[in-house]
Symmetry: C2
Subunit: 292 residues, 2 copies
């Protein structure tokens, strides 16, 4: 069994180059010679290599949309079948996402991006898997997609700075990130939360400390590329943290016919004045909900 | 009624200086002339001024521990009574924390830190309130404390970068932060989560997408200064996102006698092999739990 290391490999830094996959393996960056994803569903994915395997990938440097494995013809690279969320590497990437594990990213010379090396392979640093969703690829078959976001040097620096504040016994270890997420109120998300008095539209729970209420605005069609959902009340619902995680990760979705749920039991509590757009619900059904 | 602006004021940038509180007010940074906290429990706190008012503040630049208002003698600055979480400015800061609102921070010449100006006032940028807790101050009375963390220039830059990816209709608006928190698995937090099979030790819920389970490791005595809790199984419990928020924000705590809860109904499910340290529970009882 491979002994997987998550995070940086001692002696390897961002921008280091490797002649070929064997060198990359010998350095301990990516332990498999052919597969793009190194890992398994028991431990997660420790590393990926981008090398032009899929026509649907895109790469903005700090943000990568990566396609899972399976279903493509190894010679033409075209999709010839649907991909499967349960395939080893695909599930490993979900584990990395759900358990917050950093993934090493290496770009190969065949990967089409401005960040790729002209020859060989270049180590691109650590990324977090922040999102997974389903699409019909350019070739017409279902593909499993992942958003990876770069762990910024500042973030790493801040973690080191915080470490020095701790009087814990393990000074040599990185301090775990345990800060709760900060979901910023915008004018529109606040309106939606206030409409429901900060109660979850799924379970009704209202979280409050000394009368100050807390709820989260969830976007039905997610914001940002490639989803391009809008920050408008027709695309926002008010959820508790549990149902927000479950909704964003595709554990349940809403039926547009009667607002009952699929994936878990229940029904979305919808105020008459709150016009949720069915187009957004359809998008969530098709792209975010993971049908088991 | 003042029309509160949250975030940066047009024309004012970090490092700008002001001769006195009147100038600071005229610039729109901090609209009250004496109070350190500008805001109220209905909208939150939009701005604070640090100017040596409390002996217990500390300031590391990117991180500030700030003391709430009330209970001090205006001439000697000594605490002469307990502070109250329900006092206007104190509650306003909890609203800023729970609703994710940015707070403008200005340092005055009397504030003891290496970041303070020699004279007058200096605008120090935007911060988020990430934590609140209760302490006995140096003068022996209860004080309300807040952790503020600087919104990094990189974070602001990233939000602008993301905005350009959006095809939403509001290109001029900042895109709201809606990414779910990333709580990194460490070896020890993973051990605790696995012991409970990723089920919440309070409510038993197990969140899973295609069999990949998600839970959060909560530290009973928080990590980092001034708490200095340890990242050890005796200080870690496995919670769902809802109970993690509620526990960290002090909505409930655990009784060390029988592990029943205070603040909400229920009992901590504790495995025999999991030796939670009572000292940590005591700390949470005294400093984090907000007795209503």
């Amino acid at each position: 069994m491979a002994n997987y290391i998550f995070g940086n490999i001692a002696g390897v830094k961002e921008g280091d180059t490797f002649l070929n996959r064997q060198e990359l393996r010998d350095a301990g960056v990516h332990l498999v010679l052919v597969a793009g994803i190194d890992g398994n569903p028991n431990v997660g994915a420790s590393s990926i290599v981008l090398n032009g395997g899929y026509v649907d990938d895109y790469d903005l440097g700090d943000e990568i949309i990566y396609t899972g494995h399976g279903g493509n013809d190894s010679s033409t690279k075209k999709q010839i079948a649907d991909q499967d969320w349960d395939a080893t590497g695909n599930k490993a990437l979900i584990v990395s996402e759900m358990h917050g594990l950093p993934v090493r990213v290496t770009r190969g010379f065949k990967h089409k991006s401005t960040f790729s090396p002209k020859s060989g392979y270049e180590f691109g640093g650590l990324y977090m898997v922040t999102d997974h969703f389903e699409e019909k690829g350019k070739d017409g078959f279902v593909i499993c997609r992942y958003r990876l976001e770069k762990v910024s040097p500042l973030e790493e620096k801040q973690q080191i700075a915080k470490k020095s504040l701790s009087s814990g016994s393990d000074h040599s270890k990185r301090i775990p990130t345990t800060i709760l997420r900060i979901v910023r109120d915008t004018k529109l998300s606040k309106e939606v939360k206030e409409l429901y008095d900060y109660s979850c539209q799924i379970c009704g729970i209202q979280i409050a400390v000394r009368g100050v209420k807390y709820a989260e605005a969830a976007h039905i069609k997610p914001l940002g590329k490639p989803h391009n959902g809008k920050d408008k009340p027709g695309n926002i619902i008010c959820l508790c943290p549990n149902h927000h995680v479950m909704f964003d990760k595709g554990i349940f979705t809403i039926k547009k016919s009667d607002y009952s749920l699929k994936g878990i039991e229940g029904k979305l509590n919808l105020d008459k004045s709150h016009a949720v757009e069915k187009e957004n619900i359809e998008y969530h059904n098709e792209h975010i909900f993971i049908n088991e």
